[in-house]
Amino acid sequence: MYIDRRRFLEMTAALAGSSVMTTAMPWFNIFNDPAPAGRNASDRVRVGVIGVGSRGRGLVYNLQELEKTMNLEIAAVCDTYEPHYQRAIEQTDGKAEAFFDYREMIEKVELDAVVIASPLYEHAHQTINCLKAGLHVFCEKSMARTLEDVKAMYDAYKETGNILLIGHQRLFNPVYLDAMERLHRGDIGPITMLRAWWHRNTDWVFYSDTGGRGTPLDRQRNWRFYDEFSAGMITELGSHHFQVANWVLGALPESVMGSGSINFFNDGREVYDNFAFVFKYPGDIHFTYDCITSNKHNGMQVQVLGNDGTMELESNMQYEEFPETPPALEDLIKTILGGDNEVIPIGGATWIPDAPIRIGGKYITPDYALDDTLLYLEGFINFVRKGSAPEKLTNEGYNASIWTLLAEQAAKTGEVVTCPSEYII
C-alpha cells in the first residue's frame, strides 16, 4: 500500500475532529472541507508569482499541476533578472503576463493572490505591499532578513486580515500527518531530545559566471552568500527544521546558543559554511541542529528521540538504522563528478535489505506518492477561496523565521539568546 490521493484524503478524514488535528495541524482539515468552486471565469483564483528563479520555477510547475484540477490561473509572473523573466514566459507559454517590477504587476493585473519566491531580503516589502493591496500571500521561507521585517510582515497580516502563509512545506507532508498523531499518542514515549542536521558536500554556488565573490553581479545572483541579504544556511535551510522542532514539541524555544564559522569554503562568502546550535525548550528538552557544506555523509535528518523509540522524520522511519550506502554507486558518482569514465564493478545479484530486525526500523507511514509543496499550494488556493487560513499555520512560519534570526544572533555574539518580548505573538 502507498498513500495516493484517495488514501491521503481518508487519512485526513479519519483525523477530522481529533485533538491532534485540532491542536497541532488544523490546516489539514482543508482537504476534508475544500472550498466549493464553480468553473466560471469569475470563480477563478488568479495568482501572480514574484521571483521565478530555481525555487519559483518549481512553484510555477506546481501551480500548473493544480491548474489541471482547480479553477486557478497563473495570471502573471515577475522577475528582475532577464533570463528568468524570459524563461518564465516560456514556461507559461506566454499566457501569464510578465513583469520586471512586482509593483507594476499588482497594480496592472487583477489578482487574488501572490506566490513569492524572491531572495530573502526582498520578502518583506513585497509581502507587505501585496497584503496591503488586498492580496493573499504565500511567501517562501524564511520570512525576512531582520527581526523587524519579520514582525512587520506579521503585523501587516494581522492588520489587513489577508492570508499570509510561509513555505515550510513539511507542514503539509503526509509523513508528518501520521507522525504527529503517533507522537501525540505517545508511541515513542516522552520526547527527550530532538536532533536534526543538514549536511551537504557542495560549494553552494548557484551561479558561477558572476566574476567571483564580491562583484555586484555575484551579490545579486549568489545573494545567499552575503550577510546583508541572507543568514546563509540558517535562513535558507535551518528554517525548515526549526519549524519542525517547534511543531513536534508544540512549544517555542526558551533560548538558543550556537557557533558558526567558515572553515572550508573560504572564497569570500560572508555566511557560515558550518554551524551548530542548541535550542532549549520547556521541560528541559534540547534540540541540536548542525549544518555543514563540506561533508554529506550524514545527509539531512530530523530525529525525534523518545524514551521508547526514535523517529527519523526525513526518511519516514521509526527507530533508527539506515541501509548502508551502496559503494558501487558512490564510485560511479565520483567518476562522473571527476569527469572520468571508468568501469565500475556494479552488476550483481539483487541487493536485499538486511532483515527487519537489523534495519531496526519500520515505515512511520506507508510510502506516499504526493508532493508536500503541491499539497501546501492546493491548501493555499482553497484558503484563498475561503478568505482565511488557520492562524496557527501562519504562526508556525512566523516563529520559525524569528528563531532563525535569533539563532544567527547567538552564533555571532556567542551569547545565550532569548526572544525579546516584542517578537512574542
Partner: protein, 297 residues
Amino acid sequence: MGTRFNAILPGLEDEEGDRVFMLIKREVTRIEGKLSRFRPESDVSEMNRIAKSNDCRLDDELFDIIKACILCNDITGGAFDVTLRPMMDYWKNNRLGELPNSEWEDLRVTLGMKNIHMDESAKTIRFSSPKLEIDLGGFGKGYALEKIREILENVKVKCAFISFGESSILAMGDHPAGGAWKIGMNHYLNPGKPVHHFEIIGGSVSTSSNFFVDDDGSLKNHMHVIDPLTCMPVEQCISVSVMAESPVLAEMMSTAFLVMPDEKIYEVLDQYEGMEPIKINYESGEARINLFEKINS
C-alpha cells in the same frame, strides 16, 4: 520491490532533479502498489485470490504484462515462468534426495504457465489450478525501468543512471564524461574486480543468480532458483547478466538464461539483435565465463 533504488541524474539543477525524482518515485510507488504480491491490496494479489476459482478482470496494463510474460515463456521454451513461487517455497522446506513425494509431484503438475488462461476480448484471466499464483518478481524491476525511461524521455532528461539493487540497471544516453556507460560485472570470488564489462548507450543490464556470498566470502546456493522444466533447484552456482536495449527484456532473459542450456540461449540470441549475455559459473571455485559470442557473425 524489496530492494534499494538509486537514481543518478547528472547535470540537473537541484530543483529540477527533485522534481524529476518525485515523478520517478511516484511511478515506482504506483507500480509496486500494483504488482507486489507482498501487498494484499495490490492488483496482483487480488488476481491471485480471484483467478483460482473465477474469471478475474484485469486492467489493460496488467493484462498486457501477463501476456508479455506468456510470450517470454514461449520464446524461452518455458524457462521464464512466473508461477513457480509455490515450488520455491517447497524447496525452502525440503532437501534434495527426498524425491519424488506427493507434495512435489502435485506442484509439478499444477504449476506452470500453461495453466494460465487469458480471454482477450473480456480481458480476464483464470488459473486452471487452485495452487497457482503469479509472482512478477522477475519482471517488476525491468518494467519499472521501462516506465522510468518513458518519464525521463518526457521531461527531456538525456543522461541518467538508474539502479534497483544494482541488479537491474538502466543507463540512458552517454556517460557524462563521454562514451558508453561501462558497467562492470562483479567477480563474486574476487570482489571489485569485474570479470567483464558491458558498454551501454541507452540500454539496460539485468543480473540474476542463485547464490549469496557468505560471511567468509564463499558462495552459498540459496536454492531459490527453480528450473521449470525439472522443478528442481539449479544446483550449480551461476550468475547471468543480460544487456539489452529494453529493460524488461533484459530482466526476463536474465531470469530465463539462468536455467536454460547454452544451445537454447544461442537460439534466443539469434532473434534479438544487440542482446549480450554473460553467464558465469562459479562451481569449480573460479569464474568460468561464457559470453555467447556468435560463431557465424
